[in-house]
Symmetry: C2
Subunit: 329 residues, 2 copies
Amino acid sequence: MVTINDIAKKAGVAKSTVSRYLNNGSVSTQTREKIDKIIKETGYTPNTFARSLKAQKTNMLGVIIPRLNSSSTNEVLEGIDATARELGYQLIITNSDQNLERELENIQTLAIQKVEGIIMLARQITKQHIDLINQASLPFLFIGQKAGTIHSMIHQDYEAGKQIGEYALGLGHRHFLYVGVPEYDQAVGIDRKKGFLDTLKKEKSSEVEYIETTFSRTIAYEKALKFLPETKATYIVCATDNIAVAVLKAASELGYRVPEDFSLSGFGGYEATSYVTPTITTVSYPYKRLGEESVKKIDLLINKKTVPMLSELGNVLEVKESTKEYKES
Amino acid sequence: MVTINDIAKKAGVAKSTVSRYLNNGSVSTQTREKIDKIIKETGYTPNTFARSLKAQKTNMLGVIIPRLNSSSTNEVLEGIDATARELGYQLIITNSDQNLERELENIQTLAIQKVEGIIMLARQITKQHIDLINQASLPFLFIGQKAGTIHSMIHQDYEAGKQIGEYALGLGHRHFLYVGVPEYDQAVGIDRKKGFLDTLKKEKSSEVEYIETTFSRTIAYEKALKFLPETKATYIVCATDNIAVAVLKAASELGYRVPEDFSLSGFGGYEATSYVTPTITTVSYPYKRLGEESVKKIDLLINKKTVPMLSELGNVLEVKESTKEYKES
DNA sequence: TTGTATGCGTTATCAG
DNA sequence: CTGATAACGCATACAA
């Protein structure tokens, strides 16, 4: 490996001169040219580790994601990537494979790598998380779930549920099926559902059945094959777009027509909802922007600015083909 | 920041003793316990940079991907992630956003970061790539495209095209439409297509129309709205599953029925092909395994073992609902 | 403008 | 088993 010393020797100067050349630049034109040439010849690049060691700064940002093959995750990542690049951060992305142990492990690993801050796309936040994060004592930001004592950035999930509720009631529907996910996920499992249910309460004549599934398309699909023939709902609300796509698939398999037999909607605004037939009504979430904002926020945190503990991003209802008015038949 | 020195002082020993404790472990039980306690109290973690500086080893692997929101990319990443973890590598994932400049930039960046090796999910390989890689002179592996002088790992795209060709001919089809992508992509744009076309040549009575689109679903969708009413093909071959999904969407929009009006197939084996109606026949590629194998290969490269310049992974035809026999009507 | 000397946190060598 | 010391590659205060 060629070092600053080699360059210095070959150029017949002190290594501090080379260092100056590399940084400030207070060097005579002569030596500058000499060094210039030699660096090109040797293909020398400064050693980042030595630099970081000296500067006590790594310019690296850690990102922890729950899984790779998720479109929402990827959109968030896109936003993170773009803004990180803009602000001069190098990204270390670690995958925790929806596994609590690995999540904690990754926090550790990133802390050891001395990243300047960590952004974590959260599923559930446990005491272990909090403890570990406090212990690591570096700027930390949760995305997607809120944690009281740690900075977080979330979607307005309660609002989103409310939007769908109001929209569906407005269409005249009174009998609903809510296909949800477990409550360990505060944002999706609880807030989103609660927003919906609370809205329905305003309409006394409404009824809601509830089915719980997981984030997996396959599992949702299999459950749908069973519950679709049994439900009396005229409107099915799925907790995620993925689930909605799976339910739609099962429906078409079983010979139901959407929205003629029942209306269907999801949450998320995934691209997939636009490429199935019918296209699926959804509440679209600004995932990419969430990623962008999160980097800006952690950057502020890193630079010791004060930022609000919690930021919320709004979302917007996208009416497509899978929902229609309910008319007494 | 708490360092090995702090620990040493508090424990009343030399820092070399602490270092030994951290590594080999030749320390008396007494001092071991003392150090143990202090490290826990202070939450000390060794500084990776100092370590890397000393060890001249970073244990980091660079990965360059063309874009984040691609299911094939993500499956490859899953494989890479899993195996990297197994082999003890830390991943630095950089996104080049389908941009040549950024690709070259990323190679630079990763080289500067002193990663031990780079895996790049390639689109096209230019002389600039080759030059830069040779200059960086570190283990490098292309995935998805082959480069003569640099190690690469690819899918059998020509074979895949052939498989579809033989299958379609076997169903009795003679009039085809191939929806392809530009030839700057050697694997998908050329090999895949050529495998298909070469196979058709064996059947004199066959005819092929050709339409070129891009990897974008939206663009493919819009093109399909135009070409579907015009084509006489009874079998449409799409160069990727994404394109196939888009064409299917356009078809259902226009009132065509698949496979009654025409058969349709893609390449890739993306999950999406299973969640549309009808499900789409495809040649599935072992993306995840590709990721796994690639890490194993670069690990070999890093450890100076000799490995073949080129590795190929096979793929398998998955017949689903979107294709059926052609019968003279 | 240039060179010398020192320290960043760690590991390894070599006496003790 | 333990401690002093040098070295990794770089940046910088200070002196020349």
